[in-house]
Point group: C2
Chain length 807, copies 2
């Protein structure tokens, strides 16, 4: 019977499992923050205690103190690049010194361009690099003789315009399909967790949930490879969200280098919070915005210490990014713009309108996307994930190519849209009729307003179509689903031994860029509208004083930026972090007020149609245990309405302090699935002693069997401070087992009459997993006030406790 303990541990095959593992968690379980923080303090005390023992111990203490900074430094460095070590410094576009791009950025650019053509003789160069040193380059950078479209390569150019177009079109679609299917297959085969945006899951993990492998090295590797593929396939998705996931993977991997962080789930999440900040910092070149994003949107417990380290991490990442300079300008940011003209108070009206429209779009998007995901989940569609990817990619590519604004990368489109029309701008968006006069504007900073030219009219039509198309296709793209559970688990068996829930998507999809794209188009359209309105009615009282006659005072580019903020806000319901990120993108404090106005209206309008952002929606859809600490619990139920057992249920499975045998406990573990068991004095008195976690019990029993062969099935187990001394009888007699030390003696308890609003507060603020409910018939012992606590702290810190005067 000695062996019965071992087969309890199907999940833990490591026979070295020792007491250190007490306090770890099973997969798909929630951690107990209070307990983890206690464990960390215990560890810290031990280090302090042993510090004076030897020089080595002192060093170890120092290392421990430093490791917090070291790990975020490493994460910051790594977050810039998933492969900072593999960083390739391709010697193209080397005129600006030190222009080396990171792997993801370079590959994305190349793959995006390869859909359109190739560089003759130098297939590894993207269009920009190909034309960099060319003397035939067109001034606007749209192409050069070295850069050939596929039609030219296949020799059909010049023979027939229709045929040329057709070949280019076909190859565009084919390459998009290849990239998308490759990405989907890679994800499917090697790392199903690499799919999707990752932010809902990262958010859930940060709130204290365990998903083993979700932030692992395979996920990191595959996501880094497939993210560029997915973006290049022209699907309506971005790599900014996935960058947060990738950065979190880096954080998780580096955390395991330091036992302080790797072995404590609460401390590990501090690193992950910093990593998420670094991810956004890298994605947008916005370190402050990244920290606020992590604080507001992703993180759960965010102590000030973490804030400071996250900031360091985000800044390191931004700084390295700046040194690498993948965007090719001297600024950190993705679409750096400076506007020459200020904005005027009357413009707050269109900005608010844009904000409201962004909020409406966000609400509609969230509802449509969630409905589509739910339909996919519950219908046969979910069984053909690769087919779905192929179909969506085909539709996207086929519909994108004819429209120049959807043909190019979404982030390039946004960069185009947020630009101001300067005197030298020569694209359709800036085609006003008076363009002949424009030649003289090189010195005038403030060109007069003119009516729309034919180029701009075309552009507006194309933009309107692009808006419609992007707005719709994104709904179907965000959350493309992967095959059902079992096929998946079989396929990935060499790498993962755990079951994968069935609702992971399979293309790495980010939502930032697509929703910003929709908003930028909308904003630009409205901006041109307002501009023409001001032109046509120059005497309107609203703007008469601000706009000097005949001079443009409306910047459509700024409207595009505001629109991008509005839709992003509507979809994600970010607030401060959104404004700060956009502010860091524009680089000017003076545009923060328009952005704020748009973000506020977007949030208000969006919230009117449903309180949750897209990430919270997906968290709920996936059934993750996420207790939102931003939402207030407003109902009047009591703890007794919520607690188990309900009336008529089986009585609670409990452990008695004395009298149970090893066999009883093993039976208990085998037959129940509870995460833990209350320990009581006896079934008669039902007095609560403490709480015992299932996993701790399993490990302790396993350990006892392993260390002492006299622990038999009929050994008595004592959960008391003093177990009877083992009788020195026969050698085969069962030895009693004392397991008092694994019982949590101070579980959080509430009374049955406690309002649930307070219980929710306790759960979310303290981050506990379980609370025992007791009857309001406690023997009162004493009382602790805040003053007592403060005096106690003062006393322990060798300060005068009487200096605490008030309570």
């Amino acid at each position: 019977t000695t062996g019965t303990g071992t087969h309890l541990l199907e999940t833990i095959n490591n026979s070295d499992a020792n007491i250190d593992d007490i306090g770890t968690y099973d997969d798909f379980h929630t951690i107990d923050w209070l307990r983890e923080m206690s464990r960390n303090r215990l560890r810290h005390r031990q280090i302090l205690y042993r510090k004076k023992e030897s020089f080595f111990r002192t060093l170890k203490g120092l290392h421990d103190a430093w490791s917090g900074w070291l790990v975020v430094l490493l994460v910051g460095l790594a977050a810039v690049q998933t492969h900072i070590l593999l960083k390739i410094c391709i010697p193209y576009k080397c005129s600006p010194p030190g222009t080396c791009a990171g792997l993801i950025d370079i590959v994305t650019k190349w793959l995006t361009d390869v859909k359109l053509g190739t560089c003759s003789g130098k297939f590894w160069l993207n269009q920009e690099s190909c034309c960099w040193n060319s003397h035939t380059a067109e001034p606007s950078g749209t192409g050069c003789s070295e850069w050939k479209t596929w039609a030219t390569i296949f020799g059909v150019e010049n023979s027939n315009t229709g045929l040329t177009y057709g070949v280019n079109y076909l190859l565009y679609i084919v390459s998009a399909l290849i990239f998308a299917s490759l990405a989907a297959l890679l994800v499917k085969m090697f790392a199903p967790y690499a799919c999707g945006s990752g932010i809902p899951e990262v958010k859930t993990i940060l709130s204290g949930f365990i998903i083993r492998g979700y932030l692992g090295k395979w996920t990191l590797l595959i996501k880094s490879i497939t993210a560029p593929l997915a973006v290049a396939s022209n699907l309506s998705l971005g790599k900014e969200g996935p960058l947060v996931h990738i950065a979190s993977c880096c954080g998780n991997i580096f955390a395991h280098l330091f036992p302080k962080y790797g072995k404590n789930e609460a401390k590990k999440r501090e690193v992950l919070s910093a990593a998420a900040a670094a991810g956004v910092s890298v994605a947008f070149g916005a370190p402050v915005g990244g920290v606020l994003f992590s604080l507001e949107e992703v993180s759960y417990y965010f102590p000030m210490k973490t804030l400071w380290r996250s900031f360091f991490c985000a800044l390191t990442a931004a700084f390295i990014l700046r040194s690498i300079n993948p965007f090719g300008n001297s600024h950190l940011v993705m679409f750096y713009v400076t506007y020459n003209k200020p904005w005027f108070l009357f413009e707050l009206v269109p900005f608010a309108l844009i904000g409201a429209l962004g909020g409406l779009y966000g609400a509609a998007f969230i509802h449509a996307n969630l409905a589509w995901c739910k339909f996919r989940k519950n219908s046969k569609l979910g069984n053909y994930p690769i087919l779905e990817v192929v179909v969506v990619t085909f539709i996207t590519a086929a519909a994108s190519y004819p429209n120049p604004y959807t043909r190019i990368d979404a982030s390039m489109m946004i960069a185009e849209l947020v630009k101001e029309c300067g005197p030298v701008m020569q694209n359709n968006l800036c085609d006003y009729t008076a363009s002949v006069v424009n030649a003289t504007f090189s010195v005038v900073k403030d060109p007069p307003v003119t009516p729309i030219g034919s180029g701009l009219r075309t552009a507006l039509w194309q933009l309107a179509l692009a808006l419609l198309f992007k707005g719709i296709i994104t709904v179907f793209t965000f959350g493309i689903k992967v095959m059902p559970l079992k096929a998946c688990a079989v396929l990935i068996s060499p790498f993962h031994v755990f079951p994968i829930p069935s609702y992971f998507e399979n293309v790495p999809t980010g939502l930032f860029i697509p929703s910003m794209g929709v908003g930028a188009i909308m904003g630009r359209l409205i901006g041109v509208g307002v501009e023409q309105l001001v032109y046509n009615y120059p005497d309107c009282a609203l703007w008469k004083t601000s706009c000097h006659a005949g001079h443009s005072c409306v910047t459509p580019g700024l409207y595009a930026m505001v629109g991008a903020a509005a839709t992003l806000g509507g979809v994600t319901r970010m607030t401060v972090s959104l404004v700060v990120i956009m502010f860091e993108l524009t680089g000017g404090l003076q545009y923060i007020v328009p952005l704020m106005a748009a973000a506020m209206f977007s949030k208000w309008v969006g919230d009117a149609f449903g309180n949750e952002g897209i990430y919270d929606g997906h968290i709920r859809l996936n059934g993750y245990p996420f207790l939102d600490n931003k939402e207030e619990f407003t109902h009047t139920t009591l703890a007794t309405d919520v607690m188990r057992p309900r009336r008529g249920d089986q009585p609670l499975t409990v452990i008695e302090q004395e009298g149970m045998t090893v066999g009883d406990l093993e039976h208990l573990v085998r037959t129940t699935k509870y995460n833990g068991f209350p320990v009581i004095t006896s079934h008669e008195s039902q007095q609560l002693i403490g709480y015992l976690y299932r996993r701790d019990l399993i490990l302790a029993l396993e350990n006892a069997h392993h260390n002492n062969e006299h622990v038999l099935s009929n050994s008595l187990v004592y959960f008391t401070l003093h177990a009877p001394t083992p009788s020195l009888g026969g050698a085969n007699d069962p030895v009693p087992l004392r397991l008092f030390n694994i019982v949590d003696l101070s579980p959080i308890t509430v009374t049955d009459h406690t309002p649930m609003e307070i219980v929710v507060e306790i759960f979310s603020k303290l981050g506990i997993k379980t609370s025992t409910v007791v009857k309001r018939s406690l023997k009162l012992l004493g009382i602790i006030t805040k003053k007592d606590v403060l005096r106690h702290i003062a006393q322990l810190n060798k300060q005068d406790p009487d200096s605490i005067l008030f309570n």
Copy 2:
């Protein structure tokens, strides 16, 4: 005996005291956040419930929902100006359109200048305005013929240089003394709470402490008047810290306009957090930095909702400030600088050095200042506060005048020091020997490095002396003390009826500008040193590659900025908010890395010599009940070690559920000073029922006496759900009183074996005031897990509870 209840209520003379007052707090007491939030939810539920009753109710509900935004908007508007309504738009300096300065800024400038001289014929103009339209103005803006020093006015100019100097010197000192004593007297007489920086107290109030009148209208008025006086008196202090206090006063006053905020201490603190953010936003023109300052340094509970509203508030304030434009440049900020030159990696070494020195200074300052304040508190010095102000002002003024860098306002000095030396700069700080060649530099952006000129040498000496002087005098200035308790209370009796504790200082003193000044001097000195080092050893490997031969690559102005950040960080131990504020001051993302480096080293070095910032030090010195949620409790004590009663103490004062009379309770209230009493079943069983707050008990008894004359001293009081029906006996028979509804039935309880680290966590995270301690012999009833909570929430929100899959 009916009247015995009334004289219990010496503090509450309002006979209309009704049940609404249940739940309010006494002065110098701590609030219970959990309870306040519950009260707010109850109020919110009532509004929702009654919303459909009538149109008026609907409007009231809408008003309630909007009031959160409205109040922060009002605070934001008001924070710019304590007197936005009294804002005077002085028509001076009107060439830049709309240049109207706020009262405080204008008065400060005028008072500062009036120490040096006056404008002939227009005494109400300050130097800048006086010379604005003058044709005789000197190009550097140092003076004009209309602006006359006091010596000229008194006719001693030109006769004797020594005499001129003497008269100016004397009048400088005299005016400084007048301003300082006036400020001190005003504060002493009308609003003793207007003294000091206010940040430690605001921080304490935000953590849940009640100091009535601290944020009142008198404090606001007097502080707004005396802050300019104190700054103008040339004491080593700034008005930036006090602006936080002033803004908080605005927040408090506006909160009272909305019952949602005015009548709920927890909700009120949300407004105060936003107000503190607006204060910093106004002080530095840094809205994002202001929010982070509020989040990191001042606030205690900072839910995301508050973050967003604080941001709105801070932004409103910054926007209004920009419209008023008191700094006279088009930027929001105090010392806006843009540097032409980038910084180089090798410079991180001097930046780190500056950071370390700043941390050292901060630690030394904190220790010295706290020691001096403690000495003042415990010696006779504390009895002569006005004398102390006069002496310190005299010493400061006498020592300041001879040195041009201390003679001027500290913020002007900082603005001077952080400037880059451009081709047209013509002051001592930029006097390099090759200045003759400078004429040709108007097109060269990058002047060559040259050795120090005689002007710069003088400037360096003066700066070194200024550094020494400022560093020392600030220690004695921050925290100048007011007269002892009783005199104070008598003096201010017409306005305040409550006792004032004895440790309030009496000149409004801010610490930001003085410590930044010290740092800016230090930074500039080191910057010039590094610059000359690079000049003298151009071939050193460290900078050879970065600095092209003969060209300056070191910007001493940037070093001054970094130095300011370092000392401010060392003194206050701010982290993220410091970096963001300084980043907003410089306006360039690229200098954020040097600032970060300095802030990090400053904090590390500072923390090595003591973990607390100056504000925490003063909080501790004053004995405020502030439970720092940033610090971890690392000891191993148990709740039983902390709770009252200790072994050998009197037993706990408790209330029995049944059997006590009104007289007993009145006796209890009269003879004890406890904030509340546990309610137990009986002295025999000692089973805990709930907790009853003293103030609630007093109000309930008062109320009962008031409403029913049959409630007599010998009326029995029942704290049970069902009281016996009153016997319909004689008309004068005592009526039993049922007070079950005022008992808190779900007090937070911990067991006697709960580690104190968990108790501390519970107190700081939940913000409770009292926890009852019970013996680990609870009758177990059931259990609640996080999953149960989530399912419960899902169910109440009409969602599928089974969608919560994991625990």
